[in-house]
Amino acid sequence: MILEELAFLVLALVAIATAIAALLVRELVHTILWIAVFFVDLSAIYFLLEAPFLGVLQLGVYAGAVTVLLLFGIMVTRKRIFSREAATGIGAVPFALAVVTFIFIVSVVGEFPSSAGTIHAYSPADLSQNLFNVNGPWLLLLGLIMLGAVAGAIYLVREGRE
C-alpha cells in the first residue's frame, strides 16, 4: 500500500519536473528528450492505475510516434540541429494565469470523497468489447477525423505551392 503511494509520488514529481524542463531548456533536441521521459513516466502512471492497454498505447503512440514526429519536425526546419533557441522570458501574466488555473482546479478537490476506494482493473478484452460495441460511433468518428486530417496535412505540404 505505502509502496504504491511512494511510487505515485515519485512518478508525479518526475512528470511535473520533466514537463517544466521540456518547456524551459533552450536546446530544442533536449526538449524532445525531456518530453520522451515525460511520456514514458505517464505510461508508468497508467500501469500503476491498472490500465495496461492505455499504458502500452501511451508508449507506442506518444513515446514512439509523437516523439519521432517532433524530432522529424526539428530535423527538417533548422540547418543546425543543436542550435540554441533565443531565450524567451517567463512572462508574469501567463505565469499568474497558470497558477490561478492550478488553484481553481485544485479547489474542487473537496467535492470528491477523500478516499475514493479501490482502483478497478479492466482487462484489455473488456475494454475492446466496450470500445467497439458501445463506443463504436466514437471510434468511427476518430477514423473519419484522422482521414480528414491526413488529407489536410497532405494539402498543406504538397509541392508547387507558393
Partner: protein
C-alpha cells in the same frame, strides 16, 4: 487492490494543465507550442484514466474508451501541427509563431 489518493491525481493533472497553459502562452517556437499542447492534452487523458479507474463498471470502461479515442485525436493533432510547421517554414523560413501574420489585418 491498490488505493491511491484521488487528491494526488487531481493535483497532478491540474499542475500539468497549468504547465501546458503556461507553455502555450509564452513559447514562440511552433514545435514548443505543440509540445505544450501535448502536455495539456496528457493532463486531460490522465483525468479520464483515473476517474475511470475509481468509477468501475461500464461507466469506467467508457471512460477508458474515451481516453483511447483521445490518444488518437492527440496524435492526429500533432500530425496536422507538423504539416503547418512545414508549410510555415517553407513560406517564411522560420517556425516562430510571431512571424505567422498572413491573416492579420
Amino acid at each position: 487492490m491498490t488505493d491511491l489518493p484521488l487528491v494526488g491525481f487531481i493535483g497532478l493533472s491540474a499542475a500539468l494543465l497549468a504547465i501546458g497553459l503556461f507553455g502555450i502562452l509564452t513559447r514562440r517556437n511552433f514545435i514548443l507550442l505543440l509540445i505544450a499542447i501535448e502536455i495539456a492534452m496528457n493532463a486531460t487523458i490522465l483525468n479520464f484514466v483515473y476517474f475511470a479507474a475509481y468509477t468501475g463498471g461500464t461507466a469506467g470502461l467508457t471512460g477508458q474508451s474515451i481516453a483511447v479515442v483521445l490518444v488518437g485525436f492527440a496524435a492526429t493533432e500533432v500530425a496536422v501541427g507538423l504539416a503547418i510547421v512545414l508549410a510555415l517554414n517553407r513560406l517564411k523560413g522560420t517556425i516562430n509563431v510571431a512571424q505567422a501574420t498572413e491573416l492579420k489585418l
